[in-house]
């Protein structure tokens, strides 16, 4: 998407001056960014820079110490519990290990949110769940328990569950972690396909360079040292033109640029 388009697109998710801390230990401060509808925003940075913490705060698991997170024009953390639940239903999350509920089969995992939040008949729920599983290439595995699936399949199962309520936004926490290069590539392709066909907005936390360059329309770089957002823009632009040497080094995978 070019910059002209960006101007007319409204951010679907935005963070304004968000600071995050565990107790007294500050992880990030004053982070501001926008995620544009239908785009993939990659949150990148070295280990321990607070990427996953930021994700936690975006999805309602960790309240920021200051600043605001908005979905459209709604302030997420200033809303009451009911409102927050309603906003939560607009997004889906794929956790690092898939986080499928171990006491349920794959099909039950995908259908459970539908049973909870829709008035659909059991037959419709089952059909939708099977359709979501086939979307991620897992049709026929509905009866399997999470423990019987491989790491890659669990992740795709987690993705099917994240998409169960047809969310507008999908959050991914390290989608490539623990996957072989091919499975990781397949997951990237799946993200691109879903983005194009369903128009879902993706917010992906990752430090895998191939994934970053493959899927990102926009990116933000978090820095562990300064605990701030160091740069934002398209990864290729940042790699070539970012004034911050740290960002260029990260994207070029070089320990120094001299």
């Amino acid at each position: 998407m070019n910059s002209e388009d960006k101007n007319i697109s409204l951010p679907i998710v935005s963070a304004e001056g968000v600071s995050l801390a565990y107790g007294e230990y500050v992880v990030l401060h004053d982070v501001t960014f926008n995620a544009i509808r239908g785009q993939a925003l990659v949150v990148m940075g070295g280990s321990g820079c607070g990427k996953s913490t930021l994700l936690k705060s975006l999805v309602g698991l960790l309240e920021p110490v200051s600043g605001a997170i908005r979905y459209g024009d709604q302030d997420f953390w200033a809303s009451d519990n009911q409102k927050r639940d309603e906003i939560s239903r607009r997004f889906g999350i794929l956790y690092q290990g898939g986080a499928l509920w171990s006491s349920m089969s794959l099909l039950e995992n995908v259908s459970f949110p539908l049973e909870m939040y829709t008035e659909l008949s059991p037959k419709e729920v089952r059909e939708i769940a099977e359709y979501k599983l086939s979307l991620v290439g897992l049709s026929g595995f509905g009866g399997f328990r999470p423990a019987q699936l491989s790491g890659g399949m669990r992740k795709r199962g987690g993705l099917a569950r994240a998409m169960s309520l047809d969310p507008e936004i999908l959050f991914f926490d390290e989608p490539s972690a623990g996957l072989d290069p091919l499975s990781s590539r397949r997951l990237d392709d799946l993200i691109l396909e879903l983005k194009e066909t369903l128009g879902i907005t993706f917010i992906v936390v990752t430090h895998e360079l191939p994934s970053i360059f493959a899927i990102a329309d926009d990116s933000i770089f978090l820095d562990a040292e300064t605990k701030t957002l160091l740069a934002c823009g398209h990864p290729a632009t940042l790699r070539d033109e970012c004034p911050e040497e740290k960002v260029r080094r990260f994207l070029l995978r070089q320990s120094n640029l001299s």
Partner: protein
């Protein structure tokens, strides 16, 4: 790493001083499988302290000397001595591989993160202990409050969990526990009868063994034994299960779907214990009495009719049974809530999971015993015993 043919296996360092320069030459095998190196360290120390006119230290290594981390560590300690004595060092005659290894560790040393604070003082430690205790009590009260709210939601048909989860929990903490409960309570009854028979024989009141066993089982031992077995079995299982779910981010994913883990995971488990523990206790009471009866019939030679009649007389008031069962509902609550809380508050690594399980068992057994004592005191104050 090489070895010179026919050389002495001992690690040696020869030191000599020439024009203010201390030349240290390493020979022999400087590897982890060579035990004796003390002489080298001694000679190094002597060389440093004896010769006051040294300005510089030069290290070199004999041709083909076998070395590994042992030599690197030794030279590192020498270098720190040199730094202390402000001597310059020449390492140009050491093999480049060794120098590189040494430099790598030097860089890592510079990266070392400074951890804050040393040993806290006595007052600080006491203060921290008090705060930790207060926090633990507060979080328990908070947990209990949340659980109570969740129970109210259930009564208003607003809390949702899967019936299959409740039934699974009932099976896991009820039917599956029958064999162990049978064994433990049977042996408890049997042991009490043996101990009682010896004492009661002194007063020629042996038939009161039936009273002793039946009353002790229904008032005290049945419930207590079941609670202890359940704490070790079910409480630990709850903590491990929920802790593992937390590690796998399953709890987070429930929360982000707007599903309360309290309603969905903890309510069915604790309710299952509430329902199953009194039933198991009733069963344990009967099996314990059977254990006593075995001693009565086969060791003390009472007739079956006589023994049962005596037991019936002892249990003429149903209150003894009810008061025993009433306690167990509380025991069930303690075990279920402690197990679930420990699991849910578990840290993010496998060691924390182990700690959570251990702590769940120890805490619930302790609380059960304390609660039991409180109940007995309460019953006697009220004149119900």
């Amino acid at each position: 790493m090489t070895e010179e043919q026919g050389q002495s296996p001992l690690a040696r360092m020869n030191c000599k001083v020439e024009e203010g320069v201390l030349h240290c030459r390493f020979t022999g095998r400087w590897t982890i499988d060579t035990a004796k190196r003390e002489t080298s360290r001694g000679s190094w120390r002597r060389a440093l302290t004896d010769k006051k006119d040294i300005r510089k230290v030069s290290f070199e290594i004999g041709k083909g000397v076998g070395w590994d981390s042992v030599l690197v560590v030794f030279i590192r300690s020498c270098l720190s001595d040199c730094k202390e004595s402000k001597l310059s060092v020449d390492m140009s005659r050491l093999p480049s591989g060794l120098c590189k290894l040494f430099l790598m560790t030097e860089e890592k040393l510079m990266d070392k993160v400074e951890l804050d604070g040393g040993e806290p003082g006595f007052l600080t430690a006491v203060g921290e202990l008090i705060f930790a205790a207060a926090e633990a009590i507060l979080s328990s009260v908070h947990f209990l409050g949340e659980w109570t709210l969740s129970l109210f939601r259930l009564f208003r048909f607003k809390a949702r969990f899967r019936a299959s989860d409740f039934l699974d929990s009932c099976r896991a903490c009820g039917a599956s526990a029958l064999p162990i409960v049978t064994l433990v309570s049977f042996l408890t009854g049997l042991t009490m009868a043996f101990v009682g028979s010896v004492q009661l024989a002194k007063f020629n009141a042996r038939i009161y063994v039936a009273d002793l066993v039946s009353l002790a089982m229904v008032r005290e031992m049945g419930g207590l034994m079941v609670a202890i077995v359940m704490a070790g079995r079910t409480g630990a299982a709850f903590a491990a299960e929920l802790g593992n779910m937390k590690l796998n981010e399953e709890i987070d994913s429930l929360r982000t779907f707007g599903i309360s883990p309290m309603d969905f995971l903890i309510l069915p488990r604790t309710l299952a214990l509430f329902v199953m523990i009194p039933m198991l206790t009733l069963y344990a009471d009967v099996v314990g009495m059977l254990g006593g009866m075995v001693v009565g019939l086969f060791v003390m030679d009472f007739s079956l009719h006589h023994y049962i009649e005596q037991t019936q007389t002892a249990l003429s008031s149903m209150w003894d049974i009810y008061s025993g069962l009433a306690k167990t509902i509380f025991f069930g609550g303690i075990i279920g809530l402690v197990g679930c809380k420990k699991g849910l508050n578990c840290g993010n690594d496998s060691a924390a999971l182990g700690e959570a399980v251990t702590s769940a068992v120890v805490t619930s057994i302790t609380l059960v015993v304390v609660a039991d004592a409180l109940f007995e005191v309460f019953y006697s104050i009220m004149g119900w015993r």
